[in-house]
């Protein structure tokens, strides 16, 4: 079993990942913005005027991520801020890997692990997303391992329309 700190890191990074769906924000936009801000972090290390870090701080404020905004503002000070920023870059690397893995899992065809007549929520799914209860199944991706933690993605899928709903990452112990 992986150390608890690794699991906590992953769960923390999951916390940043899941809301893109829950809040209805475009996933590709959020992922793009994360990538852009990581680029600003890297650019800020070599930027003697602190412009990249300043821009990053403003974007973090706009996204309501106050702790990150503080790190970027502090990073405008030569040398001092780069220590805090290095730690964030490492954490971003884990989060990015997690996102890429999840995106890759969501692109899979998936294996059906529960057919409609054994699926507890089939009727609820039909009511919420349309179609017949008999067309909804539960699928899983292949498992994926990051930092020694194994996980897979589950989702519901309508066999007739191909609609996919309610992605969920499952940690495998």
């Amino acid at each position: 079993m992986p150390p608890l700190s690794d699991i906590a890191d992953l769960q923390a990074s999951m916390g940043d990942f899941t809301p893109y769906y829950q809040q209805g924000e475009s996933f590709s936009y959020g992922a793009w913005l994360d990538g852009f801000q990581t680029s600003l972090d890297v650019a800020g290390i070599a930027d003697p005027f602190g412009i990249a870090d300043g821009v990053n701080a403003v974007i973090y404020v706009g996204r309501g991520q106050w702790a990150d905004a503080g790190i970027s503002a502090m990073a405008m000070l030569p040398y001092v801020g780069n220590v805090a920023k290095s730690s964030r870059l490492a954490s971003n690397a884990v989060r990015l890997t997690k996102k890429l893995a999840s995106e890759s899992q969501m692109a899979e065809i998936g294996q059906i692990i529960i057919r409609s007549d054994k699926l507890r929520d089939a009727a609820k799914l039909a009511e919420k997303y349309g179609g017949n209860a008999t067309d909804w199944v539960k699928k899983t991706s292949q498992p994926f391992t990051i930092n020694g933690v194994k996980f897979e993605t589950h989702w519901y899928e309508n066999l007739l329309t191909g609609a996919r709903e309610e992605y969920k990452t499952k940690f495998i112990w």
Binding site: I113, I114, D117, D135
Partner: protein, 121 residues
């Protein structure tokens, strides 16, 4: 009963309700599996295999039988007029299959016991 995978995909034009018709990312041709249950339905017949992660029902036509001995654990039940199952009693228990898919410890342990029995019959 043991089977060997001979193909991992069936005709994409087959009935939409057929489950796991494209297993090309998940099944290796030539690999053998124990069978833990069978289901005969209107559009397709299925075998229940365990891929070390999940119990999945896969169209029977993707396999050839390498050991045809039927498990004594299997019980026949009909569901309506279009479906006949040959399952171990465990699979008929309400929510067993979904809890198993959700990796609930109780169901995983029960399946491991059943698996051990079936594999030495």
């Amino acid at each position: 009963m043991k089977i060997k995978c001979v193909k991992n995909k069936i005709d994409a034009k087959s009935h939409y309700s057929i489950l796991n018709k494209d297993m090309s990312d998940y099944l290796t041709i030539g690999k053998t599996f124990w069978v833990y249950g069978l289901r005969f339905s209107e559009h397709c017949n299925y075998v229940y295999i365990y891929n070390e992660e999940h119990l999945v029902e896969v169209p029977m036509e993707m396999f050839e039988i390498v050991d045809s001995k039927v498990s004594v654990e299997w019980i026949v039940k009909a569901q309506g007029v279009q479906e006949v199952m040959l399952w171990p009693n465990l699979f008929y228990i309400d929510d067993f299959l979904e809890n198993f898919a959700e990796r609930e410890m109780k169901e995983r342990n029960e399946f491991n016991k059943l698996k051990a029995i079936i594999e030495v019959e």
